[in-house]
């Protein structure tokens, strides 16, 4: 193909290490262009990777898990637990007598652990001062881009049971 032809019939090293200084400008630009195009290929590969993950990711299975008894958590108190796997830290909050809410403890910004601030009745991330609503898990302030994933709870007698996670969409 005409477009792919070599610049000359000289060996490659003579093409790339030219004797004339003026030719060097061409070599530099050509090599820089090649680097940029390879970077572009890397970006495209990144998009394809996300697409593959999106296509082949399995629907997560959420087992039912007994968290604690209602009397274990005082009003204004918290209970830390792990759900759905042992790697996923979550926080259960009891803001008033009859309300129990639970969220993933990982901040959606850079995965720092959020904590409950009872005085302001909100979840706070200490790393970059991201604040989340207790009622919905929405971002109130700060850099977190998404709400906290919510753990859906069911009250069975005196027991609090985690049923599934809800990844809340922004906007």
């Amino acid at each position: 193909m005409k477009l792919f032809r070599r610049a000359s019939k000289e060996p490659l090293w003579k093409d790339e290490f030219c004797i004339n200084r003026a030719d060097e400008q061409y070599v530099n630009r050509r090599q820089f262009t090649k680097f940029l195009v390879l970077t572009s290929l890397g970006m495209f590969a990144g998009n394809i990777w996300i697409l593959m993950r999106s296509c082949f990711s399995k629907t997560p299975v959420y087992p039912e898990k007994n968290i604690c008894r209602t009397k274990d958590v005082p009003v204004g108190g918290v209970w830390l637990f792990r759900y759905p796997t042992e790697k996923d830290a979550c926080i259960l909050i009891r803001p008033d007598e009859e309300t129990y809410v639970a969220y993933s403890q990982k901040c959606t910004h850079l995965s720092c652990a959020v904590y409950y601030a009872p005085a302001k009745n909100r979840l706070e991330c200490p790393c970059h001062e991201g604040y989340f609503s207790i009622k919905t898990g929405d971002v109130l302030q700060g850099p977190p881009p998404r709400p906290l994933p919510r753990v859906v709870l069911e009250r069975r007698g005196d027991d609090l049971v985690a049923v599934r996670m809800e990844i809340q969409k922004e906007g």
């Binding site: 000359s8 820089f32 940029l36 970006m43 990144g46 697409l51 999106s54 969409k169």
Partner: protein, 94 residues
Amino acid sequence: MEPQHQPTRKHGLTAIDGALALIVILLIVQMWLLTATLESYLAGHHEVVLPAAIVSGALFLICAALYLFVIHIDAEERKAQRENSGFRETQDRL
């Protein structure tokens, strides 16, 4: 016989610089697209992933086409230079 028109060295460099500038702009757009796609994917908006991959592929193809254009210009310049130097050598011998 009329001499064939050959792009001058300066014109060739200008063309390559133009192509380079375009590639840089496209690359910045592609970077933004990748970060925005990842952000949307993590936020649970899976519907944007396929169009983003298609657009990213198109941007890569444009970059590759511009790279081929740069190689082409480079080859033309070298060819012109070789022919000119051959012509001068013949004149010197005469």
